[in-house]
Amino acid sequence: MHELSIVQNIIKIVAIEAKNSGVERVTEVNLEIGQLSGIEFSSLEFAFKNLSPGSVIEGAEIYIEKPGGTARCSKCGNEFSIDTFLGSCNLCNSFDLEIIRGKELRVKSITIN
């Protein structure tokens, strides 16, 4: 359940930006959370439900972009889509893969009124 820590961090980051902008609540939070980032989205939703009340994101719409995984083969340089850490290069079968997309964990923007 590290998703709780993740949501706490999101709220902290948003709270700083909201304060800088002189508002107490935000209306939207835009996140980018990759599908290989180790986040369980149902747990994340649970964490939002529990941590939002009374916070800067209470009542805010939470939008999540969920980029899929892309790997680059360290042997032949082939880039291809993956949905787990497992698997091998679809050209040369090497397991030596570098994950170049899908591990994102970012707060992209907020919307304020």
């Binding site: 359940m1 590290h2 709780l4 820590s5 993740i6 706490q8 961090n9 999101i10 902290k12 980051i13 948003v14 930006e17 902008s21 209306t27 939207e28 939070v29 996140l31 959370i33 180790g38 989205f41 149902s42 994340l44 939703e45 649970f46 964490a47 939002f48 439900k49 529990n50 941590l51 939002s52 009340p53 009374g54 994101i57 209470e58 009542g59 805010a60 719409e61 939470i62 939008y63 999540i64 787990t84 850490f85 497992l86 091998s88 090497s94 397991f95 030596d96 964990l105 970012r106 707060v107 992209k108 923007s109 907020i110 919307t111 304020i112 009124n113």
Partner: protein
């Protein structure tokens, strides 16, 4: 995790003690709750920014909502969610470098033998290597008490209901521990193969311990953990004759997830294979 609202507050709640030290200020562990229950909960949903349609996760309904409010303003943030932890981890790393500390983050599922591995390692090497230990568990001083018997400095972090150690806890614990320059600091993380993998503590090396009483497919089931580690210790190898554990399969799975993963087979109880682990420690000594 707080049992009132389900929120975990690992950085603020963790209690750091040395063996024998009483919990003096329990209030420190409490955090405030402001709970109103007459409100709408926010919820994740995907969204098409060019129209008013959006799709709620976990439900099939669509409805319009108004985004025409002209006063709304988008503030770009583009900040890593784990930035605070990662910055603290880098501060820790700088401190470890300045003090020439070799810091190892030991992770595994509960019961794989992390503590007995530490006990034996410290007992057999302490004449040549200076160790100190940070123990991480949700509750109890049990592991710290065991380590204390080996005669090396130890502090216990109790995370309450937190499922992992984070960089801020290590920053606080290392100040209590005050390790000698040039020594080894062994961090025994909370027994969990999921969450600790995501939190950089500032360590120099990550070691995952897997015991042969577990399934050989652990690397496939917990790839985040095995992908981020330098070394995998296969513990309890003295039990292999009594088990169906296929060690070559475990190694194959480990290398599928992480082709650079080093693997050492040993038994912290019987002592077989410990020499290879000691050699690994000597090789990485700062």
């Amino acid at each position: 995790m707080c049992d009132t609202c389900g929120c975990g507050n690992p950085g603020e709640k963790a209690v750091i003690r040395v063996p024998g030290e009483e919990l003096i200020n329990k209030e420190e562990n409490l955090h405030e709750h402001e709970h109103k229950h007459e409100h709408e909960h926010s919820h994740p949903h995907s969204h098409d920014i060019y129209s008013d349609h959006h799709n709620h996760t976990g439900s099939d309904h669509y409805h319009d909502h108004d985004h025409s409010d002209i006063t709304r303003k988008i503030v770009t943030i583009e900040t890593d969610i784990l930035l605070a932890n990662n910055l603290m981890a880098e501060r820790n790393r700088g401190m470890f470098e300045a003090k020439n500390l070799t810091v190892i983050n030991l992770m595994s599922s509960p019961g794989s033998g992390k503590t007995i591995l530490l006990e034996r390692t410290i007992s057999e090497l302490k004449d040549n290597i200076q160790f100190s230990v940070i123990e991480g568990d949700q509750q109890t001083m049990n592991d710290a008490e065991r380590i204390k018997k080996t005669g090396v400095p130890v502090v216990q972090i109790n995370t309450g209901n937190g499922c992992h150690l984070d960089a801020e806890m290590i920053n606080r614990a290392i100040k209590r521990l005050a390790p000698q320059d040039g020594s080894f600091v062994m961090i025994e993380n909370v027994g969990n193969l999921v969450c600790p993998s995501l939190f950089d503590l500032g360590e120099g090396y990550r070691v995952v311990i897997m015991s042969v009483t577990e399934g050989e497919d652990k690397p496939l089931k917990y790839p985040n953990m095995f992908q981020s580690t330098n070394l995998c210790i296969l513990n309890k190898c003295d039990l292999l004759p009594y088990l169906d554990f296929d060690i070559s399969k475990a190694i194959e799975f480990g290398h599928q997830v992480n082709p650079r993963l080093q693997i050492i087979k040993l038994s912290a109880k019987s002592g077989e294979g410990m020499e290879e682990w000691y050699q690994w420690l000597k090789n990485i000594e700062g």
